[in-house]
Structure formats: structure tokens, C-alpha cells
């Protein structure tokens, strides 16, 4: 049977949906459930990765280190993965965190800026960890450009390169051509990270697998930024039907959803109007709650803010521009 590796991002991307307010204890309990269900790798921490706790993105309930420590104590077999976005997190942050049994580091850059991640990939490899180059907002670049940047990550020593649909803006064919281009350009396994803003997270993940991706992301209940991610329990079921082995027990992962995730959701993980606006405009998924807040403060429509954020070709992390755009929209009224 063909195998697909799943990296679960429930405890990292899901943090966007609850304004980074999970406690280390809540995370540890969910991690135990994920391990029992057979999940291979879990990404944990602030939604914006190491060093993400800030006024810009929202302060985390706990520090990076508190999350890592709590989860390292709770799991035995499941590998712990951390996200690092250069410009937000630094090697200094990573150095402290990896003392607690972290196995994988995903170095995330905007799709055209892989070179800001060179030193972080090198550091990760020097410490014998698995390094992933994570090309965010891949919809904003041509397949050729995505492939060129993937090659840079390969040259820096990455073990895996991800095509990441941070905006949930890609259609299945957009995914296929990008994953195929990367697959052709490098000799490493290729991964795909979906968002559901256009309701395509599962379909796009299948498109990625068809095009050659062997590692894909999911989150239980789709818990994540924007409309959330590829819903893990659905993905497991669909992949089983297609004859892929994921190592994850379907009932057990469904139970994690009902028993551990449902009670902590701040709101149903649906394709809300704002999430749809994000996918339609190609804006960064985690802008959602920030746009809602700015819309209220400045008396404008959150959808208008998000469409404008897309039009201005903003990239991941530019949450501060939301205020600027809201002020401009309010003035233009």
C-alpha cells in the first residue's frame, strides 16, 4: 500500500482560530490524543511560529518554551515540529526550544524569499534535525518561480520542501502545476499545506498527492487560520478509500475532534464570509480575526479590508497593514 506522511498542524495553525490562547495543558492533552491516534508528526506553538507572540499577531497564552516543554513531556513516539518564520523568529529562539526533543523544524518564507531561510535551515541540519523549507503564499508565484525557490531550499540542505497555500486561494490545477514543477526540480520529497477558504482543502490535498506530494498537512476539525486547514479526520478517511496508508486510526482521530477540539473552538470552523473573502482575494489566512477587529474599530466591512489586502499584494505577517487599510477605507467613506 502506498504511504502518505501526514504532519498535523492542529496545535500550531489552530492557534490562529483561538487568538493563540490554548494553554500548554490543553495542548498536551490534545497531543496525547493525536499520538494515540497514530499521528507521526505534530507542529505546535504560536500560530506565527517561534517568536510569534507579539502585539502584531497576538500574545500567546504561554511562551514557546512552555508549550514545547509541556508537549515533550506528554508524547513519546510522535515527533514534535516547530515553525520558524525568519524575520519573526530567530535561531536564538530555536536554540532554546530544540533542547526539548524537537525533531523537525519548518522554515517558512514567502514563496519568493527562500534565501532569508538559509541560515535557519543550516542551523537545523547542524543539530541533526529534519529541516523543511515551507514556501508560503505559493499561489502568488508562477510554478517556475516556486520551483526555483524550492531548489534554493534543497541547496541549503532542506530534507523536504512544501508548497503552502497560506491563503487557501489555489484551485486544484494551481496546486497540481506547482507541486509537479517542484517535484521535477528537486530530488526531495514534496509536501503540501492547504487552507479551506474556497472549500477546496481536501480536494487540493488530493491534487497535490496526484502531482507527486508524499507529505501533506491536516488539522483535526480543520482547526486553523482563515477557514481552517484540510480536516484531518476527513483526509484520513478519503486517503483510506483511495488506498493510501497514513498510520492514523480513523475512529480515534474522529474522537480527538469530538472530545478535545469541539469544546475549545471559539466559533464553528466554517467558511465564513471573511474567510471566503481571504481565499477569493488571495490574502493571508491569519488576517481573518485581525480584519474583523479592525472593521469593528474603524466602522468598515471586514471583507473590503481583506479584498484590499489581496489587491495590495500583501504577504504573510503584514497584519499591521490591516489597520492602515481600515483607516484608508474609513476615510474614503
Amino acid at each position: 500500500m502506498k504511504a502518505i506522511r501526514i504532519i498535523d498542524a492542529t496545535l500550531r495553525d489552530g492557534m490562529h482560530a483561538v487568538s493563540h490562547q490554548l494553554t500548554p495543558e490543553q495542548m498536551a492533552a490534545i497531543a496525547v490524543g493525536l499520538e494515540a491516534a497514530g499521528v507521526d508528526t505534530i507542529e505546535i506553538g504560536h500560530g506565527d511560529g517561534l517568536g510569534g507572540s507579539s502585539l502584531q499577531y497576538g500574545f500567546g497564552k504561554a511562551s514557546d518554551l512552555e508549550y514545547v516543554k509541556a508537549i515533550a513531556k506528554a508524547v513519546k513516539k510522535t515527533k514534535i515540529d516547530l515553525l520558524l518564520i525568519p524575520g519573526i523568529g530567530t535561531i536564538e529562539d530555536l536554540e532554546v526550544a530544540i533542547q526539548y526533543g524537537v525533531k523537525t523544524v519548518r522554515v517558512a518564507t514567502h514563496v519568493t524569499e527562500a534565501d532569508v531561510g538559509e541560515q535557519h535551515i543550516a542551523f537545523t541540519k547542524k543539530h541533526g534535525l529534519e529541516a523543511v523549507g515551507f514556501l508560503m503564499m505559493s499561489h502568488m508565484a508562477t510554478p517556475e518561480k516556486v520551483a526555483e525557490q524550492a531548489k534554493l531550499f534543497e541547496r541549503y540542505g532542506a530534507d523536504i520542501v512544501y508548497v503552502t497555500d497560506s491563503a487557501g486561494a489555489m484551485l486544484p490545477d494551481d496546486v497540481k502545476v506547482r507541486v509537479a514543477a517542484v517535484k521535477k526540480a528537486i530530488s526531495l520529497p514534496v509536501g503540501f499545506h492547504a487552507h479551506n477558504n474556497l472549500g477546496l482543502a481536501i480536494g487540493n490535498t488530493l491534487a497535490a498527492i496526484e502531482a507527486g506530494a508524499t507529505i501533506v498537512d491536516g488539522t483535526v476539525r480543520g482547526f486553523g487560520g482563515g477557514a481552517g486547514n484540510a480536516q484531518l479526520e476527513v483526509l484520513v478517511a478519503v486517503l483510506k478509500r483511495l488506498g493510501y496508508e497514513t498510520g492514523i486510526d480513523l475512529y480515534k482521530i474522529m474522537d480527538v475532534g469530538e472530545q478535545l477540539i469541539d469544546p475549545i473552538l471559539h466559533r464553528p470552523q466554517i467558511v465564513s464570509n471573511e474567510a471566503l473573502a481571504i481565499g477569493y482575494a488571495g490574502a493571508y489566512g491569519s488576517f481573518l480575526l485581525h480584519a474583523r477587529r479592525a472593521a469593528e474599530k474603524f466602522g468598515v466591512d471586514a471583507r473590503d479590508i481583506l479584498i484590499e489586502m489581496g489587491r495590495r499584494k500583501t504577504v504573510g505577517g503584514q497584519e499591521d497593514l490591516i489597520i492602515d487599510v481600515a483607516i484608508d477605507l474609513a476615510k474614503a467613506k
Binding site: 502585539l55 530567530t90 499591521d320 497593514l321 492602515d324
Partner: protein, 293 residues
């Protein structure tokens, strides 16, 4: 005015080249050398076309020249750590435009005077630091800033390989300088590169956790420090004046470049190269008064 300072630039990338154009306009500087390491560098070609001697020997090219008064280092954090002791030995005043931070942090509108005559190596923090530290200082001179956070967004085209390879040093140096020069108790810095075309202007968002009831005094103080920065960076402007948001103040500044080397979107080059020129000119005036004493 006395004789011009014999000046050299080391590093022929975006920052070094932009700086060269500004120094050529300065009445206080005679640019005697531009030194790089890449013979194909556009910056070196431009220097040569302006009649400036060039070298591809890096620091050795600089050390080979006698009687230099001032050397501007626009290489990278690691190279500057090696250059600093050599420049000190050669008796040159060093203006460090890398995040190496060997000497004290200097932001001209805030603390140039107190470092004049005491340090032979001054560090200009980072472009993000030059743009945001004055604002935090403007707030902290009114009320205690418990935590300062800045987000600098620059166009990808204006961030050369030096900036990219030093991205961690950028955030760390900016953070440290927000505390040391800006007066915040704690700080965090974030940098974002945006590849949009046409390129975006350099923009910076500044957050400060402080007593927001003093917002009126804060706004006045910030307006006056912005005017002070504008004296040496004409394209610097308050995009969003300070406003209170719960427990913190938010302000935004934008920097339009002079378009000397890269087009006007590269305000991130201008703000640090203009700061370097401001330091150089003030140092020239200072040296002159020292001679007269």
C-alpha cells in the same frame, strides 16, 4: 569650513552605493575610496564613473590608504566584526551600517551628541531601528514604555544579500537598540520582505505598551521628533499619528527614498545612509572645533 573628511566606503552593495551618492553631495566629505570584494559589482562601477578610486580588496583596500578620517562600513555583521579592530588600529572613525553593533548604537535625532568624541566606532542599528527608535524615544520621554514592538516592511528589491543573510541580526540589533536608545523596558522587532511590483515604500508600525492616558502629550512629542528626523531624512513621515488602542499606542511611519541608487521605494536604504551622512557631518564639525581648541 575646514578641510573635508577623507572618507572611504567599504561594501559596494545597495547600502554602500546609496551612501556614496549622498556623501558626494555632502560639503564635509571627500570620498577617496569605495572598496568591495566583487569585481562585477555595479556599485564599484558607479563609483569609478564618479571618479572615485575603487578596490576589490575589501578591508585591505581601505587599510592601504593613508590618512583616512572616516570609514563607513556597509558590508555585513560578520565582516564588520573583523574590520572593527583593524579600523581602530588605523585610527579611523568607523560608522558601522551593519547590525554588528561593535560600538554604541547611534540614532542621530536621539543620541548623537552624547556619543561624539567618546566613541571611535558607532553603530547605526538597522534601517528599521533608524525609522522606529525615534518614535519610541518620543513616547518614552513622556511616559515609561513597558514594551516596544516594531514591524518594518521593506520591498524585496531593496533588501540585498547582506540584509537577507543577516535577518536574525537585524531583529536582534533592532530589539536591543529599542531598549538602549529608545528607552523601552523590553522590545521586539519583526521584519517582513514584500516582493510586490511596483515595490512598496518602506513602512514601519510601532507599538508601545504604556500609559495611554498621556496620548495627547505623546502625540506632540512624537510630532517634534519626526520633525527632527526629517531634517536629515526628508522622506520620513508619520503615516498614522499615535493613537491609543487599549493598553498600547500605535503609530506608523513611511519612508520615501531620495532615489539616489535604487528608486524612491527604497526608503530603508535612505534612512540608514542619511543617518550615516548626518553622523559624518556632525563628526566633521566636531573635529573642527577640537582643532580650534
Amino acid at each position: 569650513m575646514g578641510r573635508k573628511l577623507r572618507s572611504a566606503i567599504i561594501g559596494s552593495g545597495n547600502i554602500g552605493t546609496d551612501l556614496m551618492f549622498k556623501l558626494l553631495r555632502s560639503p564635509y566629505h571627500e570620498v577617496v575610496l569605495m572598496s568591495g570584494i566583487d569585481p562585477k559589482s555595479e556599485g564599484l562601477k558607479m563609483a569609478a564613473s564618479k571618479g572615485i578610486s575603487t578596490s576589490t580588496e575589501g578591508i585591505n583596500g581601505v587599510l592601504a590608504i593613508n590618512d583616512l578620517d572616516i570609514v563607513f562600513d556597509a558590508t555585513g555583521a560578520k565582516p564588520h566584526l573583523a574590520h572593527a579592530p583593524l579600523l581602530k588600529e588605523a585610527g579611523c572613525f568607523a560608522v558601522d551600517l551593519t547590525p554588528a553593533a561593535v560600538g554604541p548604537y547611534v540614532v542621530p535625532s536621539v543620541n548623537l551628541e552624547q556619543n561624539l568624541g567618546t566613541a571611535m566606532n558607532v553603530n547605526l542599528t538597522t534601517c528599521g531601528g533608524q525609522a522606529t527608535i525615534p518614535i519610541i524615544y518620543g513616547i518614552s520621554r513622556i511616559t515609561k514604555v513597558d514594551y516596544a514592538e516594531i514591524v518594518a516592511t521593506v520591498s524585496s528589491r531593496s533588501a540585498g544579500p547582506g540584509t537577507r543573510q543577516n535577518i536574525d541580526e537585524f531583529t536582534q540589533t533592532t530589539r536591543n537598540a529599542l531598549v538602549v536608545v529608545g528607552g523601552a523596558a523590553q522590545a521586539k522587532a519583526i521584519i517582513i520582505l514584500n516582493p510586490a511590483n511596483p515595490p512598496i515604500l518602506m513602512r514601519n508600525t510601532i507599538y508601545a505598551i504604556c500609559d495611554t492616558r498621556k496620548i495627547d502629550d505623546i502625540a506632540k512629542s512624537v510630532a517634534s521628533i519626526v520633525a527632527a528626523v526629517q531634517k536629515y531624512v526628508p522622506g520620513y513621515r508619520l503615516k498614522v499619528a499615535p493613537y491609543a488602542d487599549g493598553d498600547h499606542v500605535v503609530a506608523m511611519v513611511e519612508v520615501t527614498g531620495a532615489g539616489d541608487y535604487l528608486p524612491t521605494y527604497s526608503g530603508n536604504l535612505d534612512i540608514i545612509t542619511s543617518a550615516a551622512v548626518a553622523v559624518g557631518e556632525r563628526y566633521a564639525q566636531y573635529k573642527e572645533t577640537e582643532v580650534l581648541k
